[in-house]
Symmetry: C2
Subunit: 481 residues, 2 copies
Amino acid sequence: MQVAQEEEKGKEEERAKWYTDVIQQSELADYSPVKGCMVIRPYGYALWENIQKPLDQMIKDTGHQNAYFPLFIPESFLQKEKEHVEGFAPECAVVTHGGGKKLEEPLIVRPTSETIINYMFAKWVQSWRDLPLLINQWANVVRWEMRTRLFLRTTEFLWQEGHTAHASEKEAEEEAAKMLEVYRDLAENWLALPVITGTKTDNERFRGAVRTYCIEAMMRDGKALQAGTSHYLGQNFAKAFNIQFQNQGGELEFAYQTSWGVSTRLVGAVVMGHGDEKGLVLPPKIAPIQVVIVPIYKSDEEKILVTERCKAIAAELKGSIRVHLDDRDQYTPGFKFNHWEKRGVPLRLNIGPKDCAKNVVELVRRDNGEKMRDFSQDGLKEKLEELLKKVQQDIFDRALANRKANTVSATSYDEFKALLKEKNCFIEAYFAGSNEDELKIKEETKATVRAIPFEQKVEAGAKCFYTGKPADKKVLFAIAY
Amino acid sequence: MQVAQEEEKGKEEERAKWYTDVIQQSELADYSPVKGCMVIRPYGYALWENIQKPLDQMIKDTGHQNAYFPLFIPESFLQKEKEHVEGFAPECAVVTHGGGKKLEEPLIVRPTSETIINYMFAKWVQSWRDLPLLINQWANVVRWEMRTRLFLRTTEFLWQEGHTAHASEKEAEEEAAKMLEVYRDLAENWLALPVITGTKTDNERFRGAVRTYCIEAMMRDGKALQAGTSHYLGQNFAKAFNIQFQNQGGELEFAYQTSWGVSTRLVGAVVMGHGDEKGLVLPPKIAPIQVVIVPIYKSDEEKILVTERCKAIAAELKGSIRVHLDDRDQYTPGFKFNHWEKRGVPLRLNIGPKDCAKNVVELVRRDNGEKMRDFSQDGLKEKLEELLKKVQQDIFDRALANRKANTVSATSYDEFKALLKEKNCFIEAYFAGSNEDELKIKEETKATVRAIPFEQKVEAGAKCFYTGKPADKKVLFAIAY
């Protein structure tokens, strides 16, 4: 028993070290001199841009507009919504001095922008004609964190935060559901991360929201990672900030609202959701480099021949494929193989003099290590495009298989505890416990309810695994990042 | 004399009011509850995105990579470069508390990121092989401002800041020049703002730089606006942050650096560089909406007919033109004309039942008010694309003509003062005065040296307009925003 726990602790430490090593060695990010803040290096930022771009398009395609609101929030604003202040007050960075003087009212560096955005909404919304108001912001936010982890939990992070106001509860609820679906689409079809969609329990709900929806992904180690949330806020903020509109019947009514966000945490999700002992494994659709070409030569003569061919191939692929030719002279091919494997580049083409003669390349897949010798150079672009699609799908399928293999059911608390001891996993269980029961389970096992999944197949006569009471829903438990 | 001054003051106030009115009425931006900070509204943010997009591409095309560095900077960092701290210390916002506790060392909200980026550069640079290091960051920065003005001068603003390190002075100087050229390209070919390129005098130089290059644009009222700067930093920051590399000869050497930036101030430049009494005039290449369609009808029957045709035209234009169909039912065509004129949409198509019958539209240009009746619907997309190019060029030409008409020469200080009394203008003058002379001129006339233009035609025996001494250069004086 003691031994098993020590072993688990050892594995845990090893995984944590693997994670930070991979991020630093692949140059996604680096530690900064400011406690809890990281530097996103070019390779990591390019990955983030490749996540931002499709998401920004989806946000616009669903009728939202980008805008920008101040970094600073008057301290008094945070106190207007009771639950909200309880949630954020201990996490804030506070500006007390500006322009060499002490400020009359301290300014909070935004931990999220609900308050200041809703202050502006109150100015802009008068009539039902002004609704819906569908706003998104790309911004940095700050939450003072004690224990930080690159990308997953940092004092400052980058995110987008959507904020909307609607004329009816129904419309706002539909909006919250629609944006969760956008996040599912992004996670599954771009990040190749299968996710569970569902509702958070009261304990896990965003403070100030009526309901929080989420997407939850399983990492390769069996832990859960919350990858995005969408909140139905009801009229909570509208009442706190007096966002009232004249409805079609001529009466004043408080607006119904939502907010939703994903952050640079998604980069961490990609690292831990797909990475292996060699480093990153990047889904082609978001990989900063999709295909790397490594020329192989011994003599100067070979170098000229091979480099020329590599350049021609790179030129052919460019435009439709993000290709990089690694023609650095000071490194060996072996060094380069390792370099690009660590960085998770989906496909590598090795090209030597014999390949040139035979009009072929050696093609290596990063995700499964498959090596294809004598891969013809004819129609290379089309074949690589096809292969990149296949790699994208295979990475998704592998993550899905991993989740299936590590998702179990529990019918009693003893079984629940035994399962968690064995390994990290998703546990589906009928649950009818109270908020306090949930907290007790967390305290004893570290597992939390990640979601009440939307997809439910509830059997007649189902009983809660913890209380034994009749249960009308299954929930998903896991240990989370 | 007194009367003239009062008149000028009145005009000045009127122009200031025009500027803020236009920005608020066109919904580019709004005042926020945080002193000196503004809210960039969707229309303004879309305009900023249309400036960002081509610039980001140009920055990448010239070999730079985006990255992200912390918002907060340890207070001690700012003190490492002497001139830099003198420049920024009085302007800073200071975080003294985080996570509910007083911080051991206060954190500065970045006014610019030279210090923290160079701290990281010192970690990353060891050998000449690590150079050049070509980094760009899109970020928000904060400089405490007493007198703020929407877009032009706000406590928080958005910008990009490039930071590079090189193995030689020559290469760094070339980089600074190259990025100034990128800014010129952006200003002239996208924002339709002709600019003067040149060097700043010591008084106007960025603190910590060896040399500051700039692009200066003339606004429609004859004042100057600094639209972008590029700095050759020499080894100043490298010495302060110990960025040393082993050069090819095996010796340790401090890196040579540059930094360069443009900001949301460019949106202000577009407003004041092109706007007229009706509101914004947007160059097509950056306009969020390039063509707006206004259906005109009286009966329900006409409405169906006209709206259907308008939708078909919008669908035809979409993809290659940013088109918007204003089919709001609660507003009259006259209201809509005014609405879109205020917002500077380059082209408007008015379409009524007769137009449908005749297969034509009424086309109105925003920049010069030209109205083209019976403009055939055949090949509309191609014709509008051509016309948008022409409008872009015409807006540039008009701004250039305005600058030429308001650029004068002065050969004596009396003449100089008389010219400035008459109207705001650019004054080219031979100058050989000292830093103190320059400050004296500023104190007495408010005019500053905007640039020592790169393009110089110096006549033999030229004399300084202020000191009468022999002068080897012309400088450009103006009153600046």
